[in-house]
Symmetry: C2
Subunit: 295 residues, 2 copies
């Protein structure tokens, strides 16, 4: 990774970690175990890609990191809840995530289900309670968050993914799944940053194009890593997607064409933020990093 | 049930059913199964107590049923999601709900988890997208909904309920569980009605007292029905709570004292809405019905 990007991501991650601490503090008392399970998964060393994208976009479009912080943390709460529920025995049945036992392994299944439910609810709670934003912007952020992650977004993509497990790989289906499971939530992260900054329509449209492109590129890169990465690098089991007959991009078009498609999407993303010039350098570098990462 | 109440509930239920149809319409296409699972549980003949309470309160405090309809439906979405996740094999492992197979039995476990997630997300989606309410009220409704149903509300109560399964019954613990699992969500339903109507602080306080009282009364009545009702009446398995060592109110203080406590709570609820006189007749009758019902 580019040294300048590395430094910037570390700095932004610091802001995000502090925000997550603020919005999900430790609790004591007899009933603190639920919060413990929620915190276990939230503070497990994630890349914080979604909240960082929200902060970067907010700052690029005239806002501050502080005005977008609650909304940025909400995107991470939702991302974390989706991983917890995804890992459940009835779903992907994964034991390891980010190099540690998954939530239902570290705690138990009921608590993992509830920790996910609690995080999803908390995401909306912190957005609508954010007094740093006028009510109209809170509404806009919550609307984006719910649309992108609900039955016509991430949850719908998950359901389609499961429904199509084991069926013949098909480009239309795989693009639908990826667009909903990963594309819309990532696009939402940058759009939410733009909404927090009070950006106008033209900016929101440009940033949406960027978000959509890196969203799909990210998922294709993930599929490729699942085939070529090691468990040590990834902090989770690899090769499982293909083994269980999941639709993956490389399974449909082959590794080479998948990699080429990811590169093409990165170029689209770069074109979208090109008009902002130097101030968008970090978003541009993130787009490149997404397809070159090893984990 | 009182004939006048029966007629009014039927009328309000009609409004609620139409609202639920509006906010969760059938879908066609390859990926419609998730919506089908969500609708299966939403349209399974529930009493619609929460949304009816929201509508009644809104109308009592100067609003219309229409202005509160989206928010009312959101309370029912959340109630339904909580039942779906509650019934899962890892949680209460129930096969029958409202006389029909539970969601994970009618569909499968992954889809039931996702249907719950989708309904929780949809609840916030329809509230913040409700153009009939000013942004400030949408924010207030979503805040109430998230606080009452999140980790310091319903989800927290569920976690405590599970954590304390099998431990010695204790009045403080059981009241904590009931207040969070059922009390706060029911209180939220009436508060949300008040918020939609733009009610002032004094009205919100009165209606909160009403909601809190009927919330706890409802749960005590539920505990009593679990011991004395029949499966046919209840549309679900009975006697399971005590069998699995769940904390119930009668288990702690005995059937007689539990029934007396429920009656006392009904009186508190009636006192709270007494100042409104005749226009509050339906809320008063609902409070009485809650402890006299057979299912």
């Amino acid at each position: 990774m580019d040294g300048r990007l590395k430094q910037r991501l570390a700095q932004q991650r610091g802001i995000v970690e502090a925000g997550l601490e603020r919005y999900l503090p430790e609790e004591t008392g007899a009933f603190s175990r639920l919060t413990e399970a929620m915190r276990y998964s939230v503070f497990s060393g994630g890349k914080r890609l979604r909240p960082i994208l929200a902060l970067e976009t907010a700052v690029l479009l005239g806002g501050t990191a502080e005005t977008a912080l609650a909304s940025a943390c909400a995107t991470e709460f939702i991302h974390t809840y989706s991983l917890i529920h995804d890992d459940l025995p009835a779903m992907d049945d994964d034991d390891i995530r980010r190099g540690r036992p998954t939530c239902h392994r570290a705690f138990d299944e009921p608590l993992a289900i509830l920790a996910g439910d609690g995080l999803l609810t908390a995401a909306f709670e912190i957005v609508v309670a954010d007094e740093g934003l006028p009510a109209e912007r809170r509404v806009a952020v919550a609307a984006e968050l719910s649309r992108a992650n609900g039955r016509h977004g991430m949850v719908g993509g998950q359901a389609a993914d499961i429904a199509l497990e084991g069926s013949t790989p098909d480009l239309e289906a795989i693009e639908y799944i990826h667009a909903h499971k990963t594309g819309l939530p990532l696009r939402a992260a940058v759009r939410i940053g733009a909404l927090c900054a009070g950006a106008g329509e033209a900016d929101v449209a440009r940033i949406s194009s960027y978000g959509e492109s890196i969203g799909l590129a990210f998922q294709i890169a993930d599929d490729l890593l699942d085939e070529t990465g090691t468990a040590e690098e990834m902090g989770k089991a690899v090769g499982k997607d293909r083994a269980r007959g999941k639709m993956t991009y490389p399974a449909v078009v082959g590794t080479e064409r998948a990699a080429a498609r990811a590169q093409e999407l990165v170029r689209t993303a770069l074109d979208a933020v090109e008009p902002y010039g130097e101030p968008a350098w970090c978003l541009a570098e993130i787009a490149k990093y997404i397809v070159s990462r090893r984990s």
